[in-house]
Symmetry: C2
Subunit: 146 residues, 2 copies
Amino acid sequence: MSSFLKSDALIIESLRKKGYRATPQRIAVCRYALQSRDHPTAQRVYDEVRKVHPTVSLATVYKTLQILTEHGLVQELDFPGSQARFDSCMEPHINLVCLRCGSIEDMEDPAAREMVAKFAAKKEFTRTGQRLDIHGICKRCSGRGK
Amino acid sequence: MSSFLKSDALIIESLRKKGYRATPQRIAVCRYALQSRDHPTAQRVYDEVRKVHPTVSLATVYKTLQILTEHGLVQELDFPGSQARFDSCMEPHINLVCLRCGSIEDMEDPAAREMVAKFAAKKEFTRTGQRLDIHGICKRCSGRGK
DNA sequence: TTTGCTGCAAAGGCTTTGCACGGAT
DNA sequence: ATCCGTGCAAAGCCTTTGCAGCAAA
């Protein structure tokens, strides 16, 4: 989580500044999506928000996540055969993607930052973002054998 | 393209060794998918193969690409709002993803290889693969202004 | 001859869209 | 009082699946 929008007040202000209305549903979606560290799916965000706003719709969740994505506050990560995940860390970092349990863990890595930084200077390619995934088996799954 | 399956004979042998029948459609899909450097979509593979096998179906293309993916000969790259792309280079490398024209270019990068290599030694995470994307605007698109 | 494979069509899953009502400003 | 946002349902898009005929081994 890299966002600075940690309070509802800041989220509301940010939404209005961008020309959006600060509805309770939107605020709740933003709060959860921006704070979550486990790269939730839209469905997961929906389930969580519904605990507070039982009538919220999945469509609203998708629309709000799209707003966050368009404004560079979260990144959508698509994977074959599964729902999209949303990452609230926009700084260069590595996603440790476990193929067994599906968990995704952010990992700070100086080498990754340096590697990405090289592209800021390049003339052949104007970098605007990145996605660095390492696929494998996480420690917890390894411990469980097989 | 990192695959060593450069001739039909080798593709046929490889398919049979894995217990698959070497049909003309499969061979054609494998040949194109393994040789292509521009990360084609399934539809693109379909269009290309159809030039030689006009009756081939998209379903067969998808099934064959799935076989290649399962055997680690290509990697499926999913992106928000667009069809999956298939990368025939399985070595650690960087995908330069142009947000304007949609092109994806493989880039060899020692820093990327080193960064990935670190994970081979890690005990906290057993690496089996990776996906390293840099998003931005490619040189050709930059030249075209705006 | 025996299966596995193909092509077609239908189904599936996730995400987006259309629309009328309701709420934020 | 505006008109944007919501929730519902329907549509969309890409991909997968079921199945009968056909072809590879």
